[in-house]
Symmetry: C2
């Protein structure tokens, strides 16, 4: 008997038929004698419907009320999933984030999990019940409902796996696992059996849609081994863990493209100590996640800062920079939304030379212009024209022999 | 400056346009300087949608999960209403039942309010915020979400008015107030300016759809004066309170028809002490509200019990009676759904004679057969053929000169 935490995403529980199907899958696991804690997302589409309704009543809805609103998406799914389990004779009980003791900080719409009080869940597990927990949500110390932001349901599952000392954590989604590249774009992409946290993290932060970085970071921090697999078949998925066999033999493990970033150029800034700090402090205070950063010193004592932010945050970024530029006494902000980030990722990069050169040559041969470059120990990212991004992914995938 | 509790029902907040309209009404009250606590229901139709989805995943959904599910209807409306208020520049904050400190017993789908901890609301009221509270829901001691059953949002409003010592409680609905009869059925029906708790209670229990009995009972118990009025116009409504001017001058204040009852006949029961107690204990244990009861002793030591239950509970009633009859060693259950209850109500009945005779004569003249009769101090009810109910209401309304 193992203790297993499973997470089913929005497409897996997209309608009543799919919820019934998930219930049958859970029943099969239960009949193997496992203790099961199941995290579910909102039905796919529901969150967007709620956001649309919010925007119809108020142009700029308060984040506190937005959380109060969005939390109902998962609350619907937990109740329906528990009922569907009852329908097939499985004892089950649903928990909202608050009921599951998931305490967060007070940052609405992007809250961080602080602690989990798993006592009530332990009691129901002992009683032989399958526990269904609402993903994506928690409660803060003031009793206000918070949501965890994008990918929040994965985070709920991994945090629960850590808190409950689960033997396994399975993230069920609509893809079979982690691929060397997006199979819709690169036909020769292969599914990986295993991947390290670091590689997964770099892939996630590079636009691989499988999981958000923070869930992987959380898993790495608490040593939660998890498997990404499909809820629509029974194929084995990709196991994500600390150490991967033959890790250093392969220089590049995958190629990822992120089309959801925008490039922000802040030009003609007074070139004085503390300028960059003020700019990025303002963005941090607005909870905007800045990705790549490049600074060039320009002519005549002015500096240019270039960085990327999520496409959805460009308006917020511009607005938060206005008072900073006014105080600094200079500078202009220009946003370019027609860009994409291409990244190649691999732990083996640490011990292989020439990875950057191979990538740049491959892109040059294909006539793809590089606008920005950023590297980490196990990743090289370039900003290129969004229109050329898919082609560039295929070229890079082939250049590193990933097919 | 007054402290006002308002309640807006499902049709008043039926879509985003109506929610925005309610926000404008609230804004106008706020600008008069009042402290406002606003209780809202789920958008009309939402609760039925959720029930349909529940039944699609499970033939007989658990009541605990049903509450978990249904509570999201009001949670959506509170968030949207608070946002709509922000959109028109009014400071507002939403509260779920649990957040508003509405503690109930543990009877799912029909919970009773035990206590309200209004401290958090007082704080926000002092800060000048309009408070939006989810009607129909609460939380029990185990942290489980409960719902209050039909008419639960009215109950939330009246209980909050009592707990917060509000100066006024206004129940906004889709009708202008309480009428002498249903205006859709009886064209000459008039709106009443005032009505006593007792009369309102008898009207409510007699099928007048304006409000459920329990809310009126709660108001009577705690002396909460409330007004029933429309959210679609600015007409004054009907004030419900203890003492009504000239109360005893009018024998009959209104006529009500209830088509949502079924008649249950339990026949050939062994005529021994305790039989009726066993029958009604079984129904009470199944949380079925029994309305009219008539017992006839039959021939040869067997008894017949006739009573009415809500139409929605007929299957449950039959099921809960089976083991009782088995234990008693006899008896058959027959259900008749084609009936209606017609009631005439008035405090003045206490001091006027001949009310029953007038009613029976009027029905006899119209050829309407009476199947059961039940009377209280201020009400006379008869069970008649459902198909003749509207006609009977018009006849009774005219007979007592209510037009």
């Amino acid at each position: 008997m193992s203790r297993i935490v499973q997470k089913y995403g929005g497409t897996s529980v997209g309608d009543v038929e799919r919820i019934k199907n998930v219930a049958l899958r859970i029943k099969a696991f239960r009949e193997e004698g496992h203790e099961l804690v199941v995290v579910v997302s909102a039905r796919s589409g529901v969150t967007n419907e709620l956001i649309a309704r919010a925007q119809a009543v108020c142009a700029n809805p308060s984040e506190r009320e937005m959380d109060q609103l969005l939390a109902i998406g998962e609350q619907e799914t937990i109740a329906l999933t528990a009922m569907a389990l009852h329908g097939v004779g499985v004892d089950a009980v649903s928990y909202t984030g608050a009921q599951a003791g998931i305490f967060t900080d007070t940052v609405h719409t992007k809250a961080k999990i602080k602690t989990i009080n798993a006592q009530p869940l332990e009691k129901d597990l002992k009683a032989g019940r399958v526990i269904i927990v609402a993903g994506f949500q928690g409660i803060n110390e003031d009793g206000q409902i918070t949501t965890l932001g994008r990918g929040g349901s994965d985070l709920t599952a991994i945090a629960l796996a850590a808190a409950l000392k689960a033997d396994k954590c399975e993230i069920y989604t609509d893809v079979d696992g982690v691929y060397t590249a997006d199979p819709r774009v690169v036909k020769t992409a292969r599914k990986l059996d295993e991947i390290s946290y670091d590689e997964m993290l770099e892939l996630a932060s590079s636009g691989s849609k499988v999981m958000q970085s923070r869930s992987v970071e959380f898993a790495a921090k608490y040593g939660v081994v998890f498997e990404v697999r499909s809820s629509f078949n029974h194929n084995p998925g990709t196991i994500v863990k600390q150490e991967v066999a033959y890790m250093e033999k392969v220089a590049v493990r995958g190629v990822a493209v992120d089309k959801d970033q925008a490039k922000v150029v802040v030009s003609n800034l007074p070139d004085q100590p503390g300028t960059a700090a003020k700019v990025f402090r303002a963005l941090a205070d607005a909870s905007i996640i800045v990705d790549m950063i490049v600074q060039n010193v320009g002519h005549a004592g002015v500096a240019n800062l270039t960085f990327t932010v999520p496409l959805t945050d460009t308006a917020k970024a511009k607005k938060s920079l206005e008072p900073v530029l006014a105080k600094l006494g200079g500078g202009q902000v220009a946003v370019s939304e027609g860009i994409a980030k291409l990244s190649v990722v691999g732990v083996g990069m640490k011990t292989h030379s020439g990875v950057a050169a191979t990538l740049f040559q491959a892109l040059a041969d294909a006539g793809v212009n590089i606008e920005m470059i950023s590297t980490s120990e196990i990743k090289i990212s370039v900003i290129i024209d969004k229109a050329r991004a898919d082609e560039a992914a295929r070229v890079a995938h082939a250049a590193f022999g990933l097919g």
